[in-house]
């Protein structure tokens, strides 16, 4: 059964359908990818799933629960977590505190217990934070302020923050954007590492290389519509996808780059398949 399911999901901004009747599934234990050019509606999709933007029609079901009119924080409590394209770190908290905030899932009695017994479970939260930082190999940054760090480091922190509460599904919004190829490759490895920890991932990117390399299943979004989906090799071979990426007038250069990547990746992957 699918862990997350979007059925006919549409999001409208004025006259624009940023998401148009999207059907999408994430299975437990998988890394599912969503690619599409800038402005395709990828971020909007995550916003809709996590409750940051209202859905105009369709529904979101997570772990058998209909999320449609649940507040964002309730969705988090159900095991859904996300990162932001713009990171949205808590700029005035240390990296450790950034993660600690998320490590504790407040309960109804937290108001009282947090005041009367602030040290309760604190050790557990700290060890969770240590674990998350280790998963992304950024333990050394724990005491730093986000503003003192590089863009790449800040991205890793936002990913660490999204996994620290051990959610069932993490939605990552372009975690590799702005990283160089080596960094992006490293990130891919670390993400695959997370799958072994009982976590499922949903990855958005317009960097084809990463998505095609690490994902188990891929959806392709263009102008708010899913134009293709399948395993990486199926998507790679899909003529609609190639056409869409070549004919994208909004980001011609980027499309060409994508297409180049597509051919390169398919070549190298074909090789690795032969090797097996």
């Amino acid at each position: 059964m699918a862990l997350l399911e979007a059925r006919g999901l549409s999001v409208r901004y004025g006259g624009l359908f940023a998401n148009n009747s999207i059907d999408l599934e994430c299975r437990a234990g998988q890394l599912v990818g969503l690619i599409g050019p800038n402005g395709a509606g990828k971020t909007t999709f995550i916003d809709a799933i996590t409750g940051f933007t209202p859905v105009s029609s369709g529904e979101v079901v997570f772990d058998g629960v209909n999320l449609n009119d649940k507040a964002p924080n309730v969705r988090v409590a159900l095991g859904l977590s996300r990162t932001f394209q713009s990171l949205e770190l808590f700029e005035d908290l240390t990296v450790r505190d950034n993660l600690l905030v998320v490590a504790q899932r407040p309960k109804w009695h937290s108001v009282v217990t947090d005041v009367l017994w602030p040290g309760r479970d604190e050790r557990k939260y700290h060890s969770q934070v240590r674990w998350a930082l280790e998963m992304l190999q950024i333990e050394s940054l724990a005491e730093a302020m986000p503003s003192d760090l590089s863009h790449g480091q800040r991205k890793l922190i936002s990913v660490a923050r999204s996994i620290v509460a051990k959610p069932q599904l993490v939605l990552l919004d372009e975690p590799a954007a702005g990283l160089d190829t080596a960094e992006s490759h490293l990130l891919g490895e670390r993400l695959r590492g997370l799958l072994a920890q009982d976590m499922s991932l949903f990855l958005i990117d317009h960097d084809m290389g990463l998505v095609l390399n690490v994902c188990d299943y891929i959806y392709v979004l263009d102008f708010g519509v899913i134009i293709a989906h399948g395993t990486p090799s199926e998507v790679r071979a899909n003529p609609t996808v190639i056409a869409a990426y070549l004919g994208d007038s909004a980001g011609e250069a980027q499309a060409r780059e994508g297409a180049a990547l597509l051919s390169r990746e398919s070549g190298s992957d074909a090789q690795s398949e032969m090797n097996q």
Binding site: N73, V76, E88, V101, P106, S110, D114, V115, A144
Partner: protein, 680 residues
Amino acid sequence: MMETYIFFALLGVGTGAMYGAFAVSLIITYRGCGVVNFATGAMAMFPTLVFVELRSTGDLVLPLVVVPSRFSLGSQISFFPALLIALTVGSLLAAVIYVLVIRPLRSSPPVTMMVATVGLALAIQGVAVKSFGNVTVRGEKILPDHVIELFGRPFPVDRLWILAAVLFLTLVVAAAYRLTRFGLATRAAFLNEKGALLLGLEPARLGFYNWVFASLVASTIGILGSSLGGVSPFSFSLFVVPALGAALAGRLRSVAVGIGAAVAIGSFEAVAVHIVSRRQVPSFLLGGFSSLVPFVVIIGALILVGRTLPNRAALTERAQVRVVLGRPKTLSWALMIFLGIVVLSSDDATIRFATIQSLFVTTLLLSIVVLTGYLGQVSLAQLSFAGFSAFMLSRFDSLVPFPFGPLLAILLTIALGTLVSVPALRVRGVQFAIVSFSIAVVFDDVLFRSPTFVGVGGLAQVERPRLFGLDLGIFGEGQFPDRRFGFIVLAGTVVCAAFVALMGSGGLGRRFLAVRSNERAAAAAGISVPRTKIIGAAFASGLAGVAGVMFAYKSVTFNGGGLDAQRGLELLALCYLGGIGSISGAVIGGLLAPSGLFIVAVLGGGSSTNQYLLTGLGLVLVAVKFPRGLAGLLSTMSNRLKVFREGGKFNEPKTPTTVGLKSSRQRSRFSYQNNFGRKP
């Protein structure tokens, strides 16, 4: 009947037009500098007083202290030269303020800028009281003020002239912003500072011109309206409330809507006064029915358009005042408590009384630390909640025995504070400050001045608290103020501080800071932002409630004096001065409070005007130079000392002592916020 209402509505257009001019001034500063300027009224008040003084005595008074500020220009100055000189003084004052305060703060969070303007307002008022005395002067008539007959009643036409002048000025402003390159540049810079830079416009210089221009608009109308109701050093300061209401109705953008709303507010106020005079409202509302008008407009505007209010795009990253959470240090707490006991045992009654005053203020400031420091909701209403608690106590202490009377008062205050915070959930930061300021004005006008609420003869009274036959009151059994009472107040303050410390050292404190830092990220972290804000408001009003109980028992008989919105501003200033983000900040603020221990023991009392002035200037200095207040300054110094003694490097340690402003300056990343609250 209808005619009567129309008549009173027309009577109100004069005041409404003045609100309108201030609203326009607020809009210009907001568009041009990104500041909600609480000093708008004060900055217009000064040149107005200068003008009146020039006309009546011929003395030129400059906003200076220490050095001579009054220069005789001979006999009375005639109208136009006086106007010119007064406006020049006003513009120079504005220019100096921009260079010294506003420009250095351009990279600070909007809240810090706004708080700095609160300090400016206090400082300018302080200077004005020193130079002119705390009296209301009535300027000679400037506009035609003959009386015509309207609906069979005499109607003074001067208010129509004021309205005409404001409308004319607005047209000039609108044309200036629509037709000139300067206006275009200002609008461009509002939307995108970097874009403006690329166009070859310097945002800081644009801000300067807008700032001075805004002050010019307000001063001109202030001078023209000076004959309407007279001016005093405090007269225009509360105009900020209706003016903000009108500016918000115009979404801090539309000058036309702003003027319209302002005139409507003025008219409704006049009608409300008429309704009150006819006793058509419940008697407890008699005091301040008309002040409900701007309040309703502000709440309405914020609820309707609060979310869509434009944010000024900024080139620089804006960081909040740094708060360091953690376990309280046992040693420094023990030392402070010991010192408290020593001072409260003093033989000098004035010292004991000053200490009790400081403890009361500290408790009150703790509530501001929670709400403003930790949660980021700048509240100017905490004093009003304390006042509410005090009056509730005076009502219930005769009905329920001692420990329950105060408890009931505190619980009612929590209920009220929480209830009030619900409509304010949609707003944060500066907008919250506006709402809370209007709440403070309404509390003062509607409750604290109402005989029904305050008590017979306008005086509330609490009975001596007794427990098991022991008199625990301030008169006690010994000398006034009784030592036992002092110790009880100390214990109360310590319990409150411990509460705040515990709260700050666990998950709840972190959630507060997370909400303050970034509401979107907080929601994504599983935090319910509204619930967290309500919890913060409940805790803060509880602390204010405790402070109110202290106030009541310390004063025994009291009226609503000293609980007004102006004092609320002062209190926030004190809290920033001490250090908004820490308990030690509240303690320092309490010591520095008017009639507090430091003032009485070290400065020997001192004049309240001087203190007012110093609090204001201190706040401005803190906002510009030491965002973490005196407490932050002390901790930085002690850290340096430690490093120095250990022979280590003389570097500022990176973590907990970095001062927010500094780190924000070091940042090189650009960040833009657009209307969607997203960063591209």
